[in-house]
Structure formats: structure tokens, C-alpha cells
């Protein structure tokens, strides 16, 4: 089986110097050797390398920020080598995230979603060609993760440490990861109970913030699986809890290095939890993505932008994070867990709303995608279809047998999802007056739906549902999204309508 480590050597050299690049190359070579012992053939691919470009028939990636060129290179590399794992090496200033448009953005953060674009690694996990439209990337097929070297960082030490940690990783029994360290904003307790119960079997480990708060006892924060359902902010090294209008600090990224157990796997539902910002924008404090990995975490799944979820039950961020952790516990590699979480998300939706498209795009995996946190008993045997090395030792982190069959199945599933999943248009249209009134009246008739939305027609935005492959939208199927004034602040309401009748209402309430 093959793992490709994809990077831009020119960008790494520009950040870390020739000596720094040499140190990174040595660390990559050590990972290649460690992977070989696990039965994985690992190859470094530089998108700025002339020979690679000629082999693939592509122009050189001369500008590290050229998202289209890098996406084309990744697609060509994936087509040529069909890697089981794709590791993006470097922060977005080395290998860019793809900036997808967010249909939820209104241009005014007071009226809705504040994010003009969604930085995403999802397009690298999809066979669809370069596009800014998140609806293009509804059928992920590839196993992808990223090891960041620190945005704006001029020292290769972080990346060298992360590569060394990936090389040294050892799998363990599922029980090592349970019970989890689970924090929730008190206001979202009910939703978090649902998520955690799906992951761990019960919610006994859930801690509300407030009343509880840091410093966390070592026996809690030292647990090897973390689930965080908290507030996060742009270029902010703090996650916060909430009760009413109180937002106490729940977790400080700066404390992780002294308390985290190496090999920890974390999922954060928090807004901007995976925004890989330059620490210079936060008084020198790195964000959670960099901090978790630097502190020894094996993998971290989180969102690059504003995330969503309901007050009770599960949706959006809850579904992605819960699914990721469940697949990790079942013995999947980090990258396969991320791919399956994405596929699960698409599969559970009748059609993808603007919130679904943003959710799918915004969650990324930071970590070596080939790492298996949980060892599957009896799985470490030579495999006719996967080729696990007979030298592989229990705990060495070798992939379980049957990987080739699983990849074929996941590729087929992803293609089927692409061809069968209808989705919201990338741009909203203004609804007609009668259409808007019909939706508002329908909302007012529903249980708990007596609140009256503002008459400003700009509050209601309509997204037609588009066909996909052989799948056609329902008759006059569309989504309506509106910011709804409530007793405290606003809610975001997503309405799916067919034939002039409301089919489904999802309320993403203030938390």
C-alpha cells in the first residue's frame, strides 16, 4: 500500500532555510523507514519538482498559494499512484487549503454567517476538479490528512517533531482511548450528551463548562480521546463554555503541551478550532490545531470556520465529530475515519443544505492519515490484497488486512454519493413575496415556531436544489435560510420545501 507525502519544497525552504529543509527531509526519511516496517510504501512528492511535473504532464506549481495548480497536482498524483493515504505536509502557506465559497455568507456578520470563504482540505479528498463551489465536493473518495509546520513559522522544529511522532506511533487497545475527556458548553449539554453517548456508549464523562473549568485534573485532560463542544474564535487560543451570557474559559491551547498524553485523538466542534493562523495574530499563541499536534496528539479533527449544531439532538458539527471518533474507536486509520465521517454525513442527508455544504467543507484532519490509534485484534497478518509486511509487530501501527478492498468500497461509495446527492445552489436568490410569506406562515404554525421573523426580505434567502448525476431534485425543492430573532439573539433556521410544502425545519439556535 502507498502513502504519498505531498509538499512544496520551495515554500518549505523559503520558510525554514536550506538547513531547515534538510532537517525536514531527514524526518521524512525516518517516517518512510518506519512506514516500511508497517508495510506502507511512503513516497515524498513535491508539487514544485520539475521531474514530478513532467511525469504527471503538469506545469510546475510556481506559486505555493496557487490553489488551482495544487489541486490539479494532487489529482494527477492520486490518479497515477492511487495512494491509500495522502499526507499534506505543511501549513496552508506551504500547501494551500482550498478556499470554498460559503453560500451562508451575507456580507454582514450581524445578519448571519460571518465567513466569506471556507478554507478546506475536502477538495483534495475528492476526484472532482478544481472549483470554489462546495457543492462540487459531495463525493469524497480519498484518505487525506495534514501535518502543519506552523503558519508563518520560520523554525522547522514543529514539523520535525510531528514527523518523528508519526514515525514512532504505536497502536493500542480501544480501552486506552476510553473514557474520553469531554467538555461541553453548559448551554449545549443536551446535544453533547447525544454525541458522547453515540461515541462512548454513555455520557458519564461529560463535563459542563460552567460550572466546571480549568485547570483540569491530569487524570481528566490526560485521557487519550478528547471531544470538545465549546465556543471558539478567529485567531483565538482559548475555547469557552457558556451559560446564559457568561462565556468562561474552558480550555487554553497554551496549556496542552504540559498535560496531553502522546497519541491523543481529539475532535473539536468549536468554531475556528482548526483555523491554522499565524501566532503573530494572537500575541504569539498558536491555535488549537498546531497546539494539539505539538503537544503530542496523533490526530485532531476540527473546523476552519464558524460551525453549527442544534441545542438538542445532533446535526452538523455533532455528526462529523461523533462519526470521526466512532470510526477511530472501531480501528480505522485517522484518515479513513475522516473519510468515512464525511461519507456518513452526506449519506444521512436527503439533500445537502447550505449549512451541510459548509459543514462538510470546514472539517479537516490534522495528523498523519495512516496512523491507527486503535489496534484491531488479530488484524495484523499478511494480507493478499493489502500487503501488510510480515515484519509488522503488534502495536506497530500496521494497517489491518483488507485495506485494498476497503479503499475500493470507499471509492465506490464516494462516487455513488457524488452522483446521487442533490444539493443547494452555491448562490442564494431572493424569494418572491408570496413564497416568503408562505414559508413564514408555515414556520409560525409549527410547534415552537410562533416567533415572527422580521419583515426585511433580506432576512430570508432561498437556495434552489440542484440535480446531481442521475438524481433529480424533488418538485420545486429548495432551501430557505433565515436569521430568526428570538428572546435572546438570533437563530438560524433552515427550511426544506417541496411543491410549496415545508418538509423539514432545522433550528440552529443561539447557544
Amino acid at each position: 500500500m502507498t502513502k504519498l507525502v505531498l509538499t512544496n519544497l520551495t515554500a518549505l525552504r523559503a520558510k525554514h532555510g536550506q538547513a531547515g529543509l534538510a532537517a525536514v527531509r531527514v524526518a521524512v526519511a525516518e517516517l518512510v523507514a518506519a512506514d516500511r516496517a508497517r508495510g506502507i510504501r511512503t513516497r515524498l512528492v513535491a508539487v514544485d519538482d520539475g521531474r514530478t511535473a513532467r511525469t504527471l504532464g503538469l506545469p510546475l506549481v510556481s506559486d505555493p498559494a496557487d490553489e488551482e495548480a495544487v489541486k490539479q497536482a494532487v489529482d494527477a498524483v492520486a490518479a497515477r499512484w492511487s495512494p491509500e493515504y495522502l499526507l499534506l505536509l505543511g501549513s496552508p502557506d506551504v500547501v494551500p487549503m482550498q478556499e470554498l465559497t460559503s453560500a451562508l455568507f451575507t456580507g454582514d456578520p450581524r445578519r448571519g454567517d460571518p465567513d466569506p470563504t471556507v478554507p478546506s482540505d475536502l477538495p483534495y479528498a475528492c476526484e472532482s476538479p478544481y472549483s470554489h463551489d462546495p457543492g462540487t465536493f459531495r463525493g469524497p473518495t480519498r484518505v487525506v490528512g495534514r501535518l502543519p509546520d506552523g503558519t508563518g513559522c520560520r523554525d522547522p522544529a514543529q514539523l520535525v517533531r510531528l514527523l518523528a511522532a508519526a514515525a514512532a506511533h504505536r497502536s493500542g487497545p480501544k480501552e486506552q482511548l476510553l473514557p474520553p475527556f469531554a467538555l461541553t458548553a453548559a448551554a449545549w449539554h443536551s446535544s453533547s450528551v447525544t454525541t458522547l453517548t453515540k461515541v462512548a456508549g454513555d455520557a458519564a464523562a461529560l463535563t459542563d463548562v460552567p460550572p466546571d473549568g480549568p485547570p483540569w485534573a491530569p487524570e481528566l485532560v490526560g485521557r487519550r480521546m478528547h471531544l470538545l463542544n465549546l465556543h471558539g474564535g478567529v485567531a483565538d487560543p482559548l475555547f469557552s463554555g457558556q451559560k446564559g451570557r457568561s462565556f468562561p474559559v474552558a480550555l487554553d491551547a497554551g496549556t496542552l503541551s504540559s498535560v496531553l498524553t502522546p497519541g491523543t485523538v481529539a475532535a473539536a466542534e468549536c468554531c475556528y478550532g482548526a483555523l491554522l493562523y499565524d501566532p503573530a495574530d494572537a500575541a504569539g499563541a498558536p491555535g488549537f490545531g498546531d497546539a494539539y499536534l505539538a503537544a503530542g496528539a496523533a490526530g485532531y479533527c476540527a473546523s476552519t470556520t464558524t460551525a453549527y449544531g442544534p441545542a438538542a439532538g445532533n446535526d452538523a458539527a455533532d455528526l462529523v465529530c461523533g462519526s470521526f471518533l466512532r470510526h477511530v474507536l472501531s480501528g480505522a486509520s485517522l484518515g479513513r475515519a475522516m473519510l468515512q465521517a464525511r461519507q456518513d454525513y452526506v449519506f444521512t442527508k436527503a439533500t445537502l443544505s447550505p449549512v451541510d455544504l459548509k459543514t462538510l467543507a470546514q472539517f479537516v484532519l490534522l495528523g498523519d492519515p495512516s496512523i491507527h490509534p486503535v489496534e484491531r485484534p488479530g488484524a495484523l497478518v499478511g494480507a493478499a490484497d493489502g500487503g501488510v509486511s510480515p515484519k509488522a509487530r503488534p502495536g506497530a501501527g500496521a494497517p489491518p488486512s483488507g485495506i485494498a478492498a476497503r479503499r475500493r468500497r470507499l471509492e465506490s461509495n464516494g462516487r455513488a454519493l457524488h452522483d446521487s446527492t442533490t444539493h443547494a445552489a452555491a448562490e442564494a436568490r431572493r424569494p418572491g413575496a408570496a413564497e416568503a410569506e408562505r414559508v413564514r406562515a408555515a414556520l409560525a404554525r409549527r410547534p415552537g415556531g410562533t416567533r415572527r421573523v422580521e419583515r426585511d426580505p433580506g432576512e430570508l434567502r432561498t437556495f434552489d436544489v440542484l440535480p446531481a448525476g442521475g438524481a433529480a431534485p424533488g418538485p420545486q425543492e429548495r432551501f430557505h435560510v433565515l436569521a430568526e430573532p428570538q428572546a435572546r439573539g438570533h437563530g438560524l433556521v433552515v427550511v426544506r420545501e417541496e411543491s410549496g410544502t415545508v418538509q423539514q425545519v432545522t433550528r440552529l439556535v443561539p447557544r
Binding site: 456580507g107 456578520p109 450581524r110 460571518p114 449544531g309 436569521a483
Partner: protein, 84 residues
């Protein structure tokens, strides 16, 4: 990414309604038509806001000049002053 200097009107308002980030925040309506969330660089999202910067939003809509970097739709301000 370089710093930029923006002029406009500053208010305090609820932002990101319905999201996990919904909160009271400073908002700048720039003279060139953009609407940005504003925070003092190095300050936290949900902690106590910078008192000097917050004062600029009193009275609401006061004309101001802010300097900083725009990251993900948020102006991380390093310098500010009232104008007009």
C-alpha cells in the same frame, strides 16, 4: 498578509447569529462597504473586550480609524482612534 487602515463606523452588536460563535461583538461598517467583526489583536473572542476599543463604539456609529489585519472576516486591530 499586511496590515491595512480602515475608516468607518463602529457599533456593538450580536454577530454570527445561530452559530456556535454567536456573541456580542464590535462591528465596523467601513466606508468602502464592508462589515467586519473587530477585536483588539491578542484579545480573546469571549473574554473582556479591550476597554479603549470598546469606548470608540460609544455613541454607537461613531466614525473611527482602525489599523490591523483582517483574518477570516475579523479585523484584529493594532491601532485605533476616533475621527471626525
Amino acid at each position: 498578509m499586511t496590515e491595512e487602515t480602515l475608516t468607518g463606523r463602529l457599533t456593538s452588536d450580536v454577530v454570527a447569529p445561530g452559530s456556535k460563535s454567536e456573541r456580542q461583538a464590535l462591528v465596523l461598517e467601513t466606508d468602502d462597504g464592508r462589515v467586519l467583526v473587530v477585536r483588539a489583536a491578542g484579545a480573546t473572542t469571549f473574554g473582556a473586550p479591550d476597554a479603549d476599543l470598546t469606548q470608540l463604539a460609544e455613541p454607537p456609529g461613531a466614525p473611527v480609524e482602525l489599523t490591523g489585519r483582517v483574518v477570516a472576516g475579523t479585523l484584529l486591530a493594532t491601532a485605533w482612534r476616533r475621527i471626525g
